[in-house]
């Protein structure tokens, strides 16, 4: 990796494009891992490969702050609202893959709504 110079950051930001059509963001701070986030991550990792869902990015993140429903994850798909699912167990994880990711249907069960806007993006928007 070449070291960045003045102006490179903006250039990098402009050219940074995600090749994916969506994201699954699993809360994996120490708290999320302790609540079982790690197992959910591994399940998604193996099952998504099997099901050919490779256009969706699987991503780890820190603690979203919603301790009461860990492990939790956010599903972001193009053209659909961002949905946060809480208390994700194996059954719900499979449902998310079969219904939400494949058929684009939000699961009407344990739907915890995305609690806040993604303010980080707004603070640093151009």
């Amino acid at each position: 990796m070449e070291k960045m110079k003045k102006g490179d950051l903006a250039e990098f930001k402009k050219n940074y494009k995600s090749p994916y059509k969506g994201e699954i963001i699993i809360s994996m701070g120490t708290c999320g891992i302790a609540a079982g986030g790690d197992a959910v991550y591994k399940l998604f990792e193996s099952e998504m490969k099997e099901k050919g869902l490779e256009n969706v990015k699987l991503k780890k993140t820190g603690c979203l702050g919603m301790c009461f429903c860990e492990p939790n994850l956010i599903v972001k798909l193009d053209g659909m609202p961002d949905i946060l699912y809480g208390n994700v167990d194996e059954r719900l994880a499979r449902l998310i893959m079969n219904e939400h990711l494949t058929k684009k249907r939000i699961i009407n069960f344990n739907t915890i709504f995305m609690p806040t806007d993604d303010i980080g993006r707004k603070i640093f928007k151009d």
Partner: protein
């Protein structure tokens, strides 16, 4: 037409939600399943006593509507219009900033990326505008300008003390000497507090960027992050962040091709609470025993290896990049009075939705406990909230509408602290809570100065005496005298603040304290030596519910005949008291 997603949250169990059922019925009647879909939501980002509807993609939130208004709301969804009078808008005066999350009273500056960004990917951080503030500081601002910006923003230390961050930087910059150090205090140890861990694990690059800006402003070439070894994941992610930043030329020699060089290293703390105190922390970094030093000289004059040093808490550092990027005017428009910006709180204890929240300064405890965290567990009554952990104090119910900021909390005998909020309900005994915190402070005292080492132990003994039912009215005065001495004579903040929880509880819950001393009674049943459970034979119908629950099997009796508790073996857990449906068990 774009499909509309309607989320319904109801305080009553959602499978019997009238709002949800009505909307689903309507959608089915009109055969609109293709364009409108209704969902039950178990959590919607805020709570209230009445149902909430949230409609996407327009992101409209309706609250405070009645059952008969639903027809109107439904028609507006169908025709893609908005009914203004039910729109939920939170008090804009606290944060007249466009970025504020209007839907949930929260306002995220410190936690802006936590939970959205992959903490192990520097690419993603840069793509969200990361390191832009560092670039701006180095190429567009001189160090004095950066310090002025931080000073004008009104940012104050988030570790608890509340000292002006800009002023601290300025004092260190003015000191002579070419070698200065910048330190990040990530030795978070308050019971029930985990704000710093969330930031370190969720957004480590913010800390790296903030510290690089601080180093540029003050003129340091080297910095340390003192992180406790109990946070292995934070250490792992910080190490990755530092090495990635070095690879990209954002840390190390000639940052971004400029003259400015800065190196950052991690130091692990071995788990002593006192090492969160700045002078003890510096001693620990030097490899010495983590003992505090008397001040003056202050760390800005003679800190790490006797060089001018400045130290800020994790949360303070995370505030730096947005301030530099957006300017001091933006930051100081958030908050109230002399407390600017936001504060992260880790809310734990007896609330329905515990968690990590960030609110503008000036938010009230009622908003935090009831609107953001769902209220008290099992709908019990709110009793008090403990702020500032073992150095803070309790805030009783009469102050629940008080604004949360440095000055207000000080004025009622508590302190902001690092941000742990422990909510207590009527089943918590204040004396017992005090005993817990004192035990913590006594265990963690480093033992260097007598007021803290001896005073803490004496306080603990006196409180234990009271909870054992051997308290005397004279003890109250003794506690006050010892506390006074500790506050005045202790070497560092640990000893000076150890008596705080006791003093504030004695002040606001005097009645409860006196009950323990004069009546030898504990109203909550938490102090087991003051409690006795007894069965009233006339009321007992012999249902055996209590006997089945008793963990030590000390309740005996024939079926359908009055039972009896064998006091010799009773451990006073209170299980039988909760199990009895006939009020036949009394606590005395």
């Amino acid at each position: 037409m774009i499909k509309q997603h309607v989320f319904v949250w109801d305080p009553t169990p959602s499978n019997s939600s009238a709002v949800y059922n009505y909307l689903v019925k309507k959608v089915n009647e009109r055969d609109l399943g293709e364009s409108i879909e209704v969902y039950r939501s178990t959590y919607i980002g805020l709570t209230s006593g009445t149902p909430i509807i949230r409609i996407l993609p327009k992101n409209i939130i309706y609250t405070k509507f009645e059952q008969e208004d639903l027809g109107e709301i439904f028609e507006s969804i169908v025709s893609d219009e908005v009914v203004d009078r039910f729109i939920c808008e939170y008090d804009a005066k606290l944060a007249p900033v466009s970025e504020r999350d209007k839907q949930s009273k929260q306002f995220k500056i410190v936690l802006r990326n936590v939970g959205y960004l992959d903490p192990e990917s520097i690419e993603e951080y840069i793509s969200r505008g990361g390191y832009k503030a560092l670039e701006k500081a180095i190429f567009e601002m001189d160090p004095d300008r950066v310090i002025k910006e931080i000073k004008d923003s009104g940012l104050r230390g988030r570790g608890g003390g509340g000292f002006s961050t800009g002023l601290k930087w300025e004092l260190t910059r003015k000191e002579p000497g070419a070698e200065k150090f910048v330190i990040c205090n990530a030795d978070e140890g308050d019971p029930g507090a985990y704000m710093d861990r969330a930031v370190l694990e969720g957004d480590p690059h913010t800390i790296v960027e903030g510290m690089a800006i601080g180093a540029y402003a003050v003129g340091c070439k080297e910095g340390f992050i003192y992180v406790r070894a109990e946070y292995p994941l934070a250490i792992e992610r910080l190490e990755k962040a530092i090495s990635d930043a070095k690879k990209y030329g954002l840390l190390g020699d000639n940052i971004l091709g400029s003259e400015f060089s800065f190196n950052l290293e991690l130091r692990w703390g071995a788990g002593a609470f006192v090492c969160g105190e700045e002078t003890a922390l510096m001693a620990s970094i030097e490899g010495k025993r983590g003992n505090p030093k008397p001040r003056p000289p202050f760390p800005s004059q003679s800190g790490l290896w006797k060089k001018p040093s400045f130290i800020n808490n994790v949360e303070t550092w995370a505030n730096i990049p947005p301030i530099v990027e957006k300017g001091s005017g933006w930051f100081s428009s958030i908050g109230v009075g002399r407390s600017k910006g936001t504060k992260v709180f880790a809310v734990t204890g007896k609330v329905k939705d515990p968690g990590l929240i960030e609110v503008p300064m000036g938010t009230t405890f009622r908003e935090i406990v009831y609107d953001l965290c769902g209220g008290i567990l099992d709908n019990k009554k709110f009793k008090a909230v403990q702020t500032g952990g073992p150095s803070g104090g309790v805030i009783p119910e009469k102050f629940i509408d008080m604004s949360v900021d440095y000055e207000t909390l000080m004025s009622i005998g508590s302190m902001m602290g690092s941000g742990g909020l422990i909510v207590m309900d009527q089943s918590d005994c204040m004396v017992d809570v005090n005993k817990f915190y004192l035990q913590f402070s006594v265990d963690e005292s480093c033992g260097k100065c007598a007021p803290c080492r001896i005073g803490g132990k004496q306080l603990l003994d006196l409180i234990s005496k009271i909870t054992d039912g051997k308290g005397d009215k004279k003890d109250i005065q003794k506690i006050k005298n010892i506390s006074n001495a500790m506050q005045k004579a202790s070497l560092c903040a640990l000893g000076q603040t150890t008596p705080n929880p006791v003093l504030s509880a004695m002040h606001y819950f005097e009645e409860e304290y006196m009950e323990h001393i004069s009546d030898k009674k504990c109203r909550t049943g938490k102090c087991s030596n003051l409690v006795q459970y007894m069965i009233i034979p006339e009321k007992c119908i012999g249902c055996t519910a209590c006997a089945l629950k008793c963990p030590v099997k000390c309740i005996s009796g024939e079926k359908k005949k009055p039972h009896i508790i064998d006091q010799k073996f009773c451990i006073k857990c209170g299980e039988c008291f909760n199990a009895c449906k006939f009020n036949a068990i009394v606590r005395g």
